[in-house]
């Protein structure tokens, strides 16, 4: 054994020593016949050639290609991660997205199949699920399998609050039109107001994907990245955005309204719900089929009582895998040269506006509903804010806000109803925009 090793060792040493001894000239000699222009290369010393190699390699490194844009985006990525870790704002999304932003903004020389926009690269393959809108329905499947629609079934009228918050979608759509975006682009931007990440990615991958061609011959912009980032950022900031609006619009007295406990919901109703809701909502908005179909299919898996195994996989490992891939590729799609545009800034502005309007819409409509409700049927207008979706953060914000006015007013169960209705409402709105604009 030792002998073998010694032979190996000597052999390998030979390989390393050769250039120093000039032994490899023999190899060159036998090969270089007839190729005269290589002569000058031979004259250069090995060290200077190696130096050339290092220089050449340096041109490939991030240090040689970095721009201010890259650094800005990397810092943004770090801030996302920091927010996720420090303040626990939607860490399951902000941390993968933040890491993705860093990954997407490592400077590289194109042609090596490194970047997310280079066809054939690994990131490009994983990004396929975003571009084709495949990840969002799979996320909705998992969400359906983890969502309990009981409070909505018990009090179906709260469904209207989920509709009211869609005012944010259409107002942002109008705002984007005023700012000069094309119709499909505006539609994709508007959906930020739906406060629903997968829906936003799904719709923008269909409307503002950089591929579709408009009636006037121009190509739509690829806005998937900015829209997704805006949607997730503001969803993470819901606990910051919503409370001041609530305090502004809802009076102290109204905030103290206690709602009667929801009635118990039978398992049969829970089983009927996903089937009936699937048929009704997709009959109205067939373009939302991938989202709503999967959402209610997932919920059926959960409520059937016979497919717990599948529901469990859908709401744990399956949604986790998709979340990881979605987060990192959406993040990486913010490559500086594509992301840092005035459009992205406008989209961030419109996104903030849309969350504000959506919250206001929900709150106003809740007040409006109270005009028609009597006695202990009256609702606490705060739960209107939960209609934006951003499940379950906005429901918890409502709960926390109500507790500040009355430490024994537990609104969480009630706020869940408009909250999940908001998800359905946004998906319907996405379907409407899709059938008008695609």
């Amino acid at each position: 054994m030792k002998k073998v090793l010694i032979i190996f060792g000597v052999l390998s040493l030979l390989i390393f020593i050769r250039p120093v001894l000039g032994l490899n000239t023999t190899t060159k000699d036998t090969n270089s016949q007839g190729i005269e222009q290589l002569e000058n290369v031979e004259n250069e010393s090995f060290v200077s050639e190696a130096f050339e190699g290092i220089k050449q390699f340096y041109n490939y490194t991030g240090f040689a290609n970095v721009t201010g844009g890259h650094l800005v985006m990397i810092i943004i990525g770090i801030v996302f991660i920091y927010l996720g870790i420090k303040f626990d704002y939607e860490p399951l999304l902000l941390i993968p997205i933040g890491a993705g932003v860093i990954i997407g903004n490592i400077p590289f020389v194109t042609g090596n199949m490194t970047g997310i926009y280079e066809s054939g690269s690994v990131l490009n393959f994983l990004y396929f699920g975003v571009v084709k809108g495949i990840y969002p329905p799979l996320i909705f499947l998992g969400i359906g399998a983890m969502t309990d629609f009981s409070s909505l079934i018990a009090n179906p009228k709260l469904m209207l609050l989920g509709a009211a918050a869609q005012i944010g979608v259409f107002a942002t759509f109008m705002g984007a039109l005023y700012l000069g975006f094309k119709l499909p682009e505006a539609g994709a931007i508007g959906i930020i107001g739906g406060a629903d990440g997968p829906t936003a990615i799904f719709l923008s991958s269909k409307l503002a994907n950089g591929v579709n061609i408009l009636a006037d011959g121009t190509t739509v912009k690829n806005l998937i990245g900015p829209i997704a980032i805006a949607a997730y950022s503001y969803m993470a900031l819901v606990p910051v955005i919503q409370p001041p609006i609530m305090r502004l619009l809802i009076s102290k007295k109204d905030r103290k309204i206690r709602m009667k406990p929801p009635r118990a919901v039978s398992q049969k109703e829970k089983m009927i719900f996903p089937v009936a809701a699937l048929i009704l909502t997709t009959f109205i908005s067939p373009s939302a089929l991938p989202l709503l179909g999967m959402l209610f299919f997932g919920n059926l898996l959960k409520e059937s009582g016979r497919t717990e195994r599948l529901a469990d996989t859908a709401r744990t490992k399956m949604i986790d895998i998709v979340t990881i891939l979605l987060g990192v590729t959406v993040g990486a799609s913010t490559q500086a040269d594509i992301f840092i545009t005035s459009d992205s800034l406008l989209i961030f502005g419109l996104g903030a506006l849309s969350f504000v309007i959506a919250t206001m819409g929900g709150l106003f409509f809740a007040k409006l509903m109270n005009l028609f409700l009597k006695g202990d049927n009256k609702i606490n207008p705060l739960i209107g804010a939960a209609g934006v979706s951003a499940v379950p953060d906005s429901a918890r914000v409502v709960h926390a806000e109500a507790l500040k006015s009355d430490p024994h007013n537990y609104l969480l169960m009630h706020a869940m109803a408009p909250n999940v209705a908001g998800v359905i409402g946004s998906a319907i709105a996405a379907g409407i925009l899709l059938s008008f604009l695609s």
Binding site: F170, D216, P261, F273, M413, G425
Partner: protein, 122 residues
Amino acid sequence: MINLPLQIDTISEGYIILATGLFIVFSSLILLTVFFKLGVPALLNAYKALKSLGKKEEKKETSVVIKSEKDFTGETAAAIATALHMYFNEQHDNENAILTIKQARKLYSPWSSKIYGTHQKL
């Protein structure tokens, strides 16, 4: 080309979409509301009537379900809500550094099954 409204008029088209869209979102959710207020109870009654015409064997099962449902009154719901409230106020503990290192022997095994294998048994 002549018949297309062109995007010059995108703003008005936008308003039409806005009005139409809001109308549709509302009407669809109202439809759902009505269906669950009226349709589902009707369906369930019809199903119950249909079943009582049929075999009586499955009665026992049904009655159990109904019983557990009856037990679940609003009082219980309120209690649960309180519990939930308290639950959400809990703080996450910081991961204990020692624990992490103690567990490292399980994690330190990207390619080897010796550790992989034991992973499940613990």
